[in-house]
């Protein structure tokens, strides 16, 4: 019962085409939903893709091409962010929402209604 991060080896074909950076994520679960937060600095709403295919969620964030300035010191990696997750079957794919704010992507993955614990009243 979880959101599993898909191992990198699962997508070898893409590897040769383009290099990606794996963003750091936090995943929390509450009674009603899973919340996935990912650090994607430099990514905006327009350069972000959140793809849901079956039970697989893929997030891709591109950063603006670095300006052609002279680097005196460089630590950042300009490659796009990409990561895939296998979703728990209890997630209601139709109600997934995503937003990005200050470089942090937040994906809300609500649980399907029938999965939520429900109190059954006992009749005589």
């Amino acid at each position: 019962m979880n959101i599993a991060s898909k191992p990198e080896t699962a997508r070898t074909p893409a590897r040769s085409e383009e290099h990606y950076v794996v963003p750091s994520v936090d995943i929390t679960e509450t009674k009603d939903e899973f919340v996935l937060e990912a650090d994607m600095p430099g990514v905006t709403k327009n350069t972000l893709e959140v793809l849901l295919e079956g039970s697989e969620l893929t997030i891709v964030g591109r950063r603006p091409a670095p300006k052609t300035r002279e680097y005196l010191h460089r630590e950042s990696n300009p490659a796009a962010f990409r990561r895939s997750f296998v979703l728990d079957p209890m997630i209601d794919a139709g109600r997934v929402t995503a937003q990005i704010d200050n470089g942090v992507l937040c994906v809300r993955l609500p649980k399907a209604e029938e999965i939520k614990p429900r109190r059954i009243s006992v009749t005589d």
């Binding site: 950076v21 994520v25 300035r69 630590e75 200050n102 942090v104």
Partner: protein, 155 residues
């Protein structure tokens, strides 16, 4: 201070050779200056050292740092005696008490980075902007530090 290329451990863009040479550089650095560069050393053991870039164009030195999810109030940028210092704090978003964490990879807490500026800058007209999780500090070079075109006269 040695300038080495920093990459996050999970970055898999680098080839094994690059990773090896990088490891060697890191080890070299440990023996080179075990105490001189303590602010960067912290990264090995704990804390948060967001990636910092320094670039230049004709008129400015421009520092950029990737620090997603901060608020402007929690950022502190100073330039003093030719050293740019950036510090800040990222606090965890408020969570439901019953929330259960499945994965916790993002770093929270304080960071502090400083870098010596290779050229003198005009400290009165420095501008800092935080947008999309990236802090950009634009520091105009002093007149003396700017490249100057010298007209050649025919004698």
């Amino acid at each position: 201070m040695r300038l080495i290329r920093y990459s996050r451990p999970e970055t898999w863009g680098w080839t094994p050779t690059e990773q090896l040479s990088q490891l060697r550089e890191e080890i070299d650095r440990l023996f080179d200056a075990p105490f001189a560069d303590i602010s960067r050393m912290g990264e090995f053991f704990n804390g948060w050292a967001p990636p910092l870039d320094l670039t230049e164009d004709k008129d400015n030195l421009i520092a950029t740092m990737e620090i997603p999810g901060l608020s402007k109030e929690h950022l502190d940028v100073t330039v003093h005696e030719g050293v740019l210092s950036i510090s800040g704090e990222r606090s965890e978003s408020k969570q439901d008490e019953n929330a259960q964490a499945h994965r916790r990879e993002r770093v929270y807490g304080r960071f502090h980075r400083s870098i010596s500026l290779p050229k003198p800058v005009n400290s009165d007209s420095i501008k800092a902007m935080y947008r999309d999780g990236i802090l950009t500090v634009t520091m105009p070079k002093t007149e003396e530090a700017k490249p100057r075109q010298i007209a050649v006269s025919v004698g």
